[in-house]
């Protein structure tokens, strides 16, 4: 009986110190340095002034504080940042990325920490549309959502700012309510937001994932604050 208890305890303590990072990223972050690759993508990552703004830099600042690290920020494109991750020259990449990302096999992806449903919203007073057929819907210009609307036979109206929308708008659920619209049941897209680490750094990936899970109730507030 004694050896059994001892071995169970041994396994349990081993489990809390496992998994380990092959390149010791988590230990290095704990010693103070956190290198973060930023991809501009408002409201997730916003380029303004010397310090990056947006929901994700705010989350990273909180995580860094909890680990006793100070983030160093690096602006760039996705390709460049992912390649840096592959070579362990960055510890984290953020930029409103979702789990459809083609780099999935080359880097460490957290589980989705925020599910963003892109819906069609209408004015409070307006009657609910029975279908999207022929409906004119305001949508942010230059994004994939306009194309998804066209696929559903709606009539996308690309605009620079969604505030100017008249009758209907296509946007993430949180933003629809923020703009004073009412979400309908018409879902165009689901973005499962993730953050990305170097490949195989499983202790670091786990710490990040657990932190984002703790923060899951905060995300929407951060996004709305950014939109204001």
């Amino acid at each position: 009986m004694r050896p059994l208890i001892v071995s169970i305890l041994a396994v349990a303590t081993a489990c809390s110190s496992l998994p380990r990072d092959p390149e010791a990223t988590l230990e290095r972050v704990r010693r103070g340095s956190l290198r973060v690759g930023l991809i501009e993508n408002p409201p997730w990552v916003v380029r303004a002034g010397s310090e990056p703004q947006g929901a994700e830099p705010e989350l990273v600042r909180r995580l860094a504080a909890s680990l006793g690290a100070r983030p160093q920020w690096f602006w760039g494109g996705e390709e460049q940042h992912m390649q840096a991750l592959e070579h362990f020259e960055l510890d984290l990449v953020i930029g409103g990325l979702d789990d459809r990302d083609p780099w999935k096999k080359k880097a460490g992806f957290t589980r989705p920490y925020f599910e963003e449903r892109v819906l069609v919203g209408v004015r409070q007073a307006a009657p609910f549309p029975a279908s999207l057929n022929g409906l004119t819907v305001a949508v942010k210009a230059g994004g994939e959502v306009a194309g998804l609307l066209r696929k559903k036979d709606a009539n996308p109206d690309p605009v620079q700012h969604l505030d100017s929308a008249a009758n209907a708008v296509a946007a993430p659920e949180w933003q629809i309510e923020h703009l004073g619209f009412v979400p309908t049941r018409f879902e165009l897209l689901k973005r499962n937001h993730v953050m990305v680490t170097p490949p195989g750094e499983n202790a670091w990936l786990r710490t990040l994932g657990d932190f984002l899970y703790e923060q899951r109730g905060e995300i929407r507030g951060l996004l709305e604050r950014e939109a204001r």
Binding site: L18, P19, R20, D21, P22, K105, N202, R206, G209, D210
Partner: protein, 315 residues
């Protein structure tokens, strides 16, 4: 024109019971494998070892299915269209399965070696299960452990039945199931390796598992080709020649009207069929004597079926 349709074959009643039991175990195996594949498929993420195990499991469906196909066609009597019966259908299923097994094994080995050379590292995130945060590696480990246990038990149950029924598909299935624990251990080592920060453990485990698959596939390929080419009957493992040919030859030669006899048999699934050439001492009552020889051949062993007795002047 009508063809000389072969007579239907009936198993002895006691064997029939074992067959029914084997059929049930094969269905349970298929169900168990499907649950294992679901468990591994849902948890595998980017682990190469888990992917290899998933493919190995999907391939271990093949001999089970081949056995059940064989059981189905076994009861189908020969007819005008297929005067030798339908037993050989299972050989085709078996060959197809063997080719797949072998091919996938080679592909997996290449894949895991490529992953190793490209130093592709498996990233395993943490997730929430019933509100608890868990590193998914531990969930994968649980899935692998679950995947090891049922095949080992089922394989142990299948083996004696396979030997009793002389069913090679069932025997293959039993060997595959019993071999499963090896890849299970490799998979567990792979995941524990990842946990300890040894990223290469995963692709190494995958390579080991694929070598196991290649070995099984090669063995099956050889066996099924040998059967299709009407190799001389062997024991259930395909190693030792089956003694039945010699024993039947002796039994026929021992008949007092027979001067000499030679027997040539082939395997048709579990059944042995073929020709017996006999040299009669004289031609008195030859037809009666041949009938006697036929009776001897058909009752000599339960697997012997539809033996042709051919009288010849000399061998």
């Amino acid at each position: 024109m009508t063809t000389a349709v072969a007579p239907p074959y009936h198993l002895p009643a006691q064997k029939e019971q074992s067959l029914e039991r084997a059929r049930r175990i094969a269905w349970i195996s298929i169900f168990a494998i499907l649950t294992i594949m679901t468990a591994i498929g849902l948890t595998m993420g980017t682990s190469a070892a888990m992917k290899a195990m998933w493919i190995e499991d999907s391939l271990s469906l093949v001999p089970n299915a081949a056995f059940l196909v064989g059981v189905h066609f076994r009861n189908k009597s020969p007819d005008e269209k297929f005067p030798y019966g339908y037993r050989r259908a299972v050989l085709i299923a078996f060959l197809a399965g063997a080719v797949t097994l072998f091919g996938f094994g080679v592909y997996l080995l290449g894949d895991s070696v490529a992953k190793f050379l490209a130093s592709e590292r498996p990233s395993i995130p943490s997730g929430a299960i019933f509100g608890h945060r868990v590193w998914m590696g531990w969930v994968m480990l649980a899935a692998v452990v679950y995947g090891v246990i049922p095949p080992v038990i089922l394989g142990k149950m299948k083996q004696p039945l396979a030997r009793e029924l002389y069913d090679k598909a069932l025997e293959t299935s039993a060997t595959l199931d019993k071999g499963d624990w090896l890849s299970g251990v490799a998979g567990i080592a792979g995941i524990l390796g990842i946990a300890y920060g040894l990223w290469w453990a995963d692709s190494a485990a995958a390579a080991l598992i694929s070598i196991e698959i290649i070995r099984d596939g090669w063995e099956d390929l050889r066996n099924s080709i040998a059967q299709l080419m009407n190799k001389r009957p062997t024991d259930i493992e395909g190693k030792e020649p089956d003694p039945t040919s010699d024993e039947l030859q002796h039994a026929l030669a021992d008949l007092d009207w027979v001067a000499d006899a030679r027997v040539r048999l082939r395997e048709d699934g579990d059944v042995l069929t073929g020709e017996a050439f006999v040299v009669p001492r004289d031609e008195r009552d030859l037809l009666g004597h041949l009938e006697e020889a036929k009776r001897v051949a058909d009752t000599f062993e339960w697997r012997l079926h539809d033996i042709n007795i051919v009288p010849v002047r000399r061998l």
